[in-house]
């Protein structure tokens, strides 16, 4: 088993005065499905181009399989990139596209065709080798692009939002498929996306980026349940943010005084606070439970949005609007009406106190 890991060793990338990536430092394990998640302009594509060799880091090193990649061009690295718009060569047939990496390495024509057919078999599209890319559907093009990238037998496959051009249904289908292909070939996948659904469902681990900084690295459930910064808490999934002042901390939890009352919640990122520090309380909409006795408070229901399985309920406490997700209880259940008072609460471990920082909407 070759070493298919990627080590980003204190990478900084600047364009003039603009810092696109700021001191990124992480290791992507061999055979892992790893995603970079962030809004557009967060530096994730720059990072990808740096790994693939289209640009060099201003500071720091990229190591692939333990080898320093400084000065190694994109055509010499054991990486293959799947472009956002796939970049299939329109003038070549599908088979020629897939065999292109072999062609430039001087592999014989017969050999090339054999390999192309094998790869087409693998992506479950046998017999389309003589078509032109223009004749394929969106999903087929996607798979051909993957086959072409795999033809180089890369150690690392880099994917730059390849699903963004597809429609919703196909996108969801391709998620499963990508994951399956990755398990089959055992290559390290590095996936770039701004779509948290893609990142969370496919990845072994996710790095959330904002403004060139890696905010948090971890398994999808940890990213969701244990955000380490205000940005991660607000960018991944829905969240209610309430400002307040720390009253005191005791181990894992702290007490926070807010305009809605004083609440106890888990401290995010294992930080230490002093009394009087400003902080933010994050409570997810599905963790605000009517009638819960812990951290209870009163609010007035202002409006509802019905969305099938869930009901999005909005309630006000003072100036603060809160979003609450309620499972649709069907005809047997009942919901409070508009203007009614709602008693809400949340478990201390299901809410997070984080230092004040920029939020997703400001990114």
């Amino acid at each position: 088993m070759p070493d298919r890991s990627v080590l980003l060793d204190h990478i900084t990338i600047r364009f003039g005065n603009f810092t696109a990536v700021d001191n990124a430092n992480l290791k992507i394990n061999s055979g892992e499905f790893f995603s970079f998640l962030g809004p557009s302009g967060c530096g994730k594509t720059t990072m990808l181009r740096c790994i693939s060799g289209f640009s060099e880091p201003t500071e720091g090193k990229v190591l692939i399989g333990g080898k320093d990649m400084a000065g190694v061009g994109p055509n010499k690295r054991p990486t293959a990139l799947i472009f956002q718009h796939l970049a299939l060569f329109p003038l070549m047939t599908v088979a020629e596209n897939i065999a292109f990496p072999l062609e430039v390495r001087g592999v014989s024509k017969k050999e090339r065709r054999k390999k192309a057919d094998e790869l087409l078999e693998m992506i479950a599209l046998p017999g389309i080798g003589d078509k032109k890319p223009g004749e394929l559907s969106g999903g087929q093009k996607q798979r051909v692009a993957i086959a072409r990238a795999l033809a180089v037998e890369p150690d690392i496959l880099l994917l730059d939002e390849p699903l963004s051009a597809l429609d919703l249904k196909l996108r969801q289908h391709m998620r499963t498929e990508l994951r399956a292909i990755q398990k089959q070939v055992g290559v390290t996948f590095i996936y770039i996306t701004h779509d948290q659904g893609e990142a969370l469902t496919m990845s072994d681990r996710v790095a959330v980026m904002s403004r060139g900084v890696i905010e948090q690295v971890g398994e999808p459930d940890r990213i969701y349940n244990r955000p380490r910064s205000a940005f991660v808490a607000s960018f991944v999934g829905e969240n209610n943010a309430v400002e307040g002042i720390i009253k005191g901390q005791s181990g894992e939890t702290a007490a926070l005084e807010t305009p809605m009352g004083t609440f106890e919640a888990r401290v995010g990122g294992g930080r230490k606070y002093k009394a009087g520090d400003k902080a933010l309380l994050f409570v997810r909409p599905e963790q605000l439970i009517p009638g819960e006795s812990a951290n209870a408070f009163q609010s007035v229901l202002s409006r509802q949005e019905f969305e099938g399985a869930t009901n999005h309920v909005f309630a006000n406490t003072g100036d603060q609007e809160l979003r609450i997700s309620m499972v649709n209880a069907g005809l047997a259940g009942s919901l409070p009406g508009q203007g009614e008072t709602l008693s809400l609460g949340f478990r201390p471990l299901n809410a997070t106190i984080l230092p004040v920082g920029h939020m997703a909407s400001e990114a």
């Binding site: 060799g53 061009g73 994109p74 055509n75 990496p101 004749e135």
Partner: protein
């Protein structure tokens, strides 16, 4: 259909009449046996002007020279134009604008200036270096034309390059190609259609050029300069015959190209496999560009053969006799008129003289022009005197 569409349609029709009218009328004159190119009076249908055209040694020699020069220009201007387009694509904005201005300038500079500057420079070089062989019409014309023809090629390449997706090159590099391989296998094939059209446009521009060539070609002549000197020194319908040939080639080329484009679009868009036109083997074959070309060539070949068998000598002899008779009549009538006029000169208003307009000239015979010197205030009335054969209409 509302008022505006109606107006738009009418305007478009008027506009295209202006565009095609002169060409159509010129083409018609190629088949009229009249010595002067015109459609009325229609004398005899003839194909003789085509023979006359091919018999013109100077034009045919010029044609050969034009081909030699054209090949040279295409071979140099297309690569230079491509280089220009590539250079512009990599320069920072400010420098790009400056270089673009410099490279596009030769299109705007009057052709005579380009021609003059070329012969002046190379004249000096050949004198200064004793390289007299550089100072010949072929070389100078190629060099002079390249200056601006390359810019045409460049414009074609720029347009094509703008549609190039740079990630294609990156993808090739990423897949292990060297930059050189990516250039040859990705960018050049992408540019191939543009190379074709650039070659075509540069050839046409080289062939057509007059303003620069007339200086640089020195004592030789190209097709166009030979043509121009023929037009300047007396015209005859063999030039119309030439126009007919060029227009025909153009139309065949345009139709074939259209068939080619449509097919390509259909194939690229994946429409080919659905369209009934392409599924039916008969229509599929018929719409193939090669077949379209073959059919057109066959039809034109047939018409040309039929035309070459046409003999208009009997008709022409008749017309000639008729003309001679008529001239005799006219002479008599004019003599009578002039006499009458002289008799009444004091009373007659000057404008009555205009009735003589165009009545002069004749079929190669010295004009029986009495050149009635009177009335210089209406010289235009005698404009027809340049015209050649008598127009019967004018003396009504």
């Amino acid at each position: 259909m509302n008022r505006h569409t109606l107006f738009g349609g009418a305007y478009a029709i008027a506009f295209f009449s202006f565009l095609f009218g002169p060409l159509i009328i010129m083409s018609m004159t190629a088949f009229n046996s009249s010595r002067f190119p015109r459609v009325s009076p229609w004398e005899c249908f003839t194909t003789g002007w085509f023979n006359e055209l091919f018999g013109n040694a100077r034009l045919m020699e010029g044609l050969l020279n034009s081909v030699i020069i054209g090949v040279g220009v295409v071979a140099l201007a297309v690569p230079i134009g491509l280089a220009g387009a590539l250079a512009l694509s990599e320069l920072p904005a400010k420098l790009r604008a400056a270089l673009y201005t410099v490279l596009i300038l030769p299109i705007l500079i009057p052709g005579v200036v380009l021609g003059i500057s070329t012969i002046v420079l190379w004249g000096q070089i050949s004198r200064g270096m004793g390289a007299g062989f550089l100072y010949n019409g072929y070389f100078l014309t190629i060099v002079g034309q390249i200056t601006f023809v390359s810019a045409y090629a460049m414009l074609v390449f720029i347009a094509r390059l703008q549609r190039f997706d740079a990630t294609q090159t990156e993808a090739a590099l990423d897949l292990g190609a060297t930059p050189g391989q990516a250039f040859r296998k990705i960018l050049l094939p992408f540019m191939a259609p543009a190379i074709g059209s650039a070659a075509f446009i540069t050839l046409l521009a080289s062939f057509e050029n007059y303003n620069t060539t007339v200086f640089t070609v020195l004592s030789e002549s190209t097709f166009t300069t030979a043509l121009a000197s023929k037009v300047r020194h007396g015209t005859d319908p063999s030039l119309s015959a030439l126009a007919v040939i060029i227009i025909t080639i153009t139309l065949v080329g345009a139709l074939t190209n259209e068939a080619l484009q449509r097919r390509k679009e259909a194939e690229m868009g994946g429409r080919a496999s659905r369209s009934p036109l392409y599924l039916n083997p008969v229509t599929r074959t018929l719409t193939h560009p090669g077949v379209v070309l073959a059919i057109l060539v066959a039809v034109i070949g047939g018409i040309s053969y039929a035309g070459s068998q046409h003999d208009s000598s009997v008709c022409e002899a008749g017309v000639l006799q008729e003309k001679l008779d008529r001239q005799e009549e006219l002479r008599a009538a004019q003599r009578a008129k002039i006499e009458a006029m002289e008799a009444e000169q004091e009373k007659t208003l000057p404008k009555s003289n205009s009735a003589f307009g165009g009545a002069f000239g004749g079929l190669g015979t010295p004009a029986p022009a009495p050149e009635p010197a009177p009335k210089p205030e209406s010289p235009s009335a005698f404009g027809g005197a340049f015209g050649g054969i008598t127009a019967p209409k004018t003396d009504e």
